[in-house]
Symmetry: D2
Subunit: 364 residues, 4 copies
């Protein structure tokens, strides 16, 4: 029943979609880390829907830091970030509270919590809780940045549109930030916007694929076997609503390869050990090898669609039709890009503190 | 630095490939569970390589239960399973200890442990440690079986060969057990054996894809957000050596779908709520919905191949050629099938105890 | 660096004495538990200083529930309680920030956090953080009450005054609530008030001893060895500022006893197994035996006293005199009585959920 | 249901008194730590009963290291220590299995585990499991020694005999090691031996008090609030069978003191901040202040006595007389001295790694 992730850098998220607020509590951030509401706000602003492309719900997402920071620096205690909910309208949920939305947690929440779940806007199953993850990630990113580690994600697929070109690490952040759908390929980005508008017009939604890279990560991060980098990152990534697949390096493609092709041969580069290829995604035996991390995260289509769907009325135990009127993003993967970055940053910060690559106290 | 997985049903594995033994310590198994060395042995025997198809290392893998069982039933204390290593030859590793094998943890282990790692046979990074996972899984499977839950895995791809037909749940276990490569499709199985023999003859290895289904799982298992079923299972699955991808239900395919297709509409079946399709893999909002769980696990090709490879000599910091002479499976995914089952069983047992669907004490 | 306690019922406290607020986040409370701001407020009001007997700092301690409760019942998510700080004056701390108060955490906080600690009012080392513990305990007490378990504490010693009579369980709560120092003996209570006034007049402070009993606790709670009831409760109790000793049942007195006297012989009472005496404090082998739990908690005198004290100026590394002007309770043990109750309740709720004696979901 | 203690340096104990073995699994020991069976054996030998003073059960307690050590140094994996049980006679327990021994866990184990507990010799509730704690402590002591930290315990009370003199830190270890009852006062030691012989002759047993000091501990160890040094150490100490009280520094005596006496004033000594007295036992705000740690641990008398006792027959639910014939120490506190040292060492090693005062990897 915990809502926490991490061992030494630990994030706990709280709040409900239509409750008073959502937020995050962050334990284990080294004392002396400079952090401000403004820095967290900037990350949250990246999560807001682009004009005309996302949910019409208009949340200011105004960040308030109510604990853990003193004179602009962390004081060693829990950092608490609260983001008030403002633009709330629960009337549709009220009317349809006994009819679970297909693809949503409505049904499982109802059964698990014996009807005591907060059904307004999906309660704590709503994508809105990722605001807390992004806030926590903003703190993690500060820790990583002080060590020269950067986490960059971008959209590589939306529905039938795939970005084919392999964008170099150095250009990735800049290119993705220019796209309204956070796709680093300008050509694919344009096609994605069209695909998105078409799906939305048809009352439908689209799945998407997010690639994430971690640049500048030192070797030795991760623990063998059960706390491998893959284990820890996938644990976090599958906690993001709508994620149904995660792969590292060559991922599923490696299933069809031969060892002589898949193995990353070692070499000496600039006097240091390196690998010629990076099919392992920067992780060998669950531990970073010094190469960039690479992973891909599959998002299912937004389950809330405008088309009529078949469902059941749980109060009468009979089948029923459902017409969803709420305000929803036609492709959650777009807004998920900064969420993926935040989650990867939080998990890595945890592993780096555990590996003693980030000091407990300092003025980072 | 922990080697443990799980919160209430917790497994810890220990030992090294060429040390005295490998094994598992299992905490949290309800007292009164009937378990014998024979039952654990049966699971371990399933993990042994098929004749002519796997590593020529011949390990008896004789199970010894040295704690936690009294009069044939668990007594509430830690269950300790020890499996002695017998057929050990470390001479090749001794000679090549400064030259890390591509695709292996040799290099990351060397750096992480400052050279104090046990380099014989890969130490605790060896696939041999999965014997402990299988032993722990045998205990978990007893707990699940008492609740009518069965975990069944099979090989659906090896290299370029894919099993296309969708085998019904009821036939899966029987069909897979008849195949030397644990593939439920007899046609694909034959092709896989050929592909395996060819790769082995060429001194190469193959990747593979394992599908796992969980039948009879009740609804309500799993915790929202950070301990979602996907989070917990993927954490465990990515702890298995060579796993580089995990997906649930429609998985990566959902990235290319529309919501109107991907959503699993609810219906009433035999008086109970069910879904018409199962693209979500039996998991909504991180919680089981009562449908069978379905996941796929991508294995990279065995990194140890007979072909010469480029590497570096860490003692001289110069590039070097490496010729691996050890004894290795040409496709780890084959022997990984029971490991996947064991891991899924262990993670599910943990979630079921946490959800109070398995009682703490009983005579199961 | 965690600020959390408990495995399944977990409390995390946050905030600083002179920051924006203090509070608690509570995970693992079964969904459907009725809880209101008013109920939590009542417990917090018990923690406020009696008229003329405690700190002149006047905090309303107004409780706000900002997450985890829906329609008056817990919804399965984290419960978040925020208590704003209002009556804050940090000027004395500002002037003396380089001179650690003897007996306080000022010095260790300064060294541990490299000067980044919040030194205003002791930051998160302040006794004020126990407001969060009391809030969390209020939720735990609801869970326990639904199972017929009551936690009652009272003051049995203040400085040189000891309450000698052994008050029966049934009278304890009523008698203690009538005393301004929460002492169940009316005679001792009067003497304690005098002792308190005398110490305060002399600019000094007093230590105290709190006894806590748990009535109606079922057998089988607690885990052998490392999560024994004593281990878990003492872990929590020693987290309360100023606690320096904890004993169960006969406690330190058992060191001087013989086994034939100390052993609690078993008997049959009302058809059930019971013990004739209760020197073990209701705990055998770390597990409850069905008898009432009994423990005593030693509090040191409030370190903040009005008398001049010797200290050091850390900015010059030279000795210095310190005159504390802040507002402080002359005996923290008095206000600690409800804190002890809250902590014991929280730890027991955790153990009872882990033992599956409290269901995950219900309308308790 | 866990049998583990610690977060980063974690010990898990296993085995039963009359099972095949007892032992310990140790996770988180930095790779490269020199450790041998001989070093662990030496600590275990200190736990064996003195001639004529303890249990006549004669266990060789032969240590076997079956994992985690390679070429005489830890390899980063779990260290597994197994100690076989040899001198086992379960016949008395067999005959009396339905009659719980007063003061023992027999009754609570029976109820908790629904009769599936291993009742031979108390199963995993036996004092024999402390052999695993001592083994784990031997590893922890190596880590501490490399940082100049020493843990020394001694007996300060047995029944009515108290050692009054305050032995200086420097003499403590030498004096205690010369006493058959590990009491540093030679006068008290002689009286204790007499008291012990008298109690044994009368078929009775004695309680005892153990003081433990930690010398050379650096400041900054421990975490505020819930993982205070007192919380973590008491958690461990109360896990030792028969412990019923723990106090730090002035402990219970502080309840009767005034603040002006109890406060440890700061001073400059040899250019560093120090305190004139040490009533806080080296811990302020839950964090070490650089002074020696001091704590006292109260042990109840051995519950197994030769005198006839009243109990109940659980198979008939009627009262019964019990005559214990097993082999038992008349005062468990004597043999507990090295157990207290081991436990304190293990808990401190955990806190020091978490505070990054002990490096993850090294050749210590």
């Amino acid at each position: 029943m915990t809502f926490s992730l991490g061992k030494e850098f630990r994030i706990t998220i709280f709040g409900e979609s239509h409750g008073e607020c959502v937020g995050a509590l962050i334990e284990g951030c080294p004392a002396g880390t400079a952090i401000s509401e403004g820095e967290i706000q900037r990350e949250l602003d990246r999560r807001r829907p682009g004009k005309g492309l996302g949910s019409p719900r208009r949340e200011e997402d105004r960040v308030r830091l109510i604990g853990g920071v003193f004179n602009g620096r962390t004081n060693g205690g829990p950092i608490v970030v609260v983001i008030a909910n403002r633009d709330v309208d629960s009337s549709w949920y009220e009317r349809n509270r006994h009819i679970p939305r297909p693809g949503h947690a409505d049904y499982t929440a109802f059964v698990k919590y014996a009807g005591f779940n907060d059904w307004r806007g999906g309660g704590f199953f709503s994508g809105r809780i990722t605001a807390g993850i992004v806030a926590a990630g903003a703190v993690a990113r500060k820790l990583l940045a002080a060590k020269g580690v950067r986490v960059v994600a971008h959209l590589v697929q939306m529905g039938s549109v795939r970005a084919e070109e392999d964008v170099p690490d150095s250009d990735l952040e800049g290119l993705a930030s220019q796209s309204p759908v956070r796709c680093a390929s300008s050509k694919a980005s344009r096609l994605m916007v069209k695909e998105l508008e078409k799906a939305a017009a048809e009352g439908d939604s689209l799945g998407g694929l997010v690639e994430c890279r971690v640049l500048g990560v030192p070797p030795c991060i991760g623990e063998p076997v059960f706390d491998s980098v893959e284990s820890v990152l996938s644990h976090g990534l599958f906690s993001i609503p709508a994620v149904k697949g995660v792969e590292f390096g060559g991922g599923f493609g490696l299933s069809g390869m031969r060892g002589s092709v898949a193995n990353d041969e070692f070499c000496i580069r600039d006097g240091a050990v390196s690998t010629r290829t990076n099919n392992c995604g920067g992780i060998l035996g669950g531990i970073t090898d010094g190469m960039p991390l690479r992973m891909r995260v599959a998002f299912k289509p937004t389950p809330s669609i405008a088309k009529a769907q078949r469902s059941v009325d749980l109060s009468r135990m009979e089948e029923a039709e459902l017409l969803i009127e709420g305000r929803h993003d036609p492709c959650v993967a777009v807004r998920a890009v900064p969420v993926v970055e935040a989650m990867v940053a939080a998990c890595l910060a945890d592993l780096m503190i555990r590996s003693q690559k980030i000091a407990r106290t300092g003025g980072g």
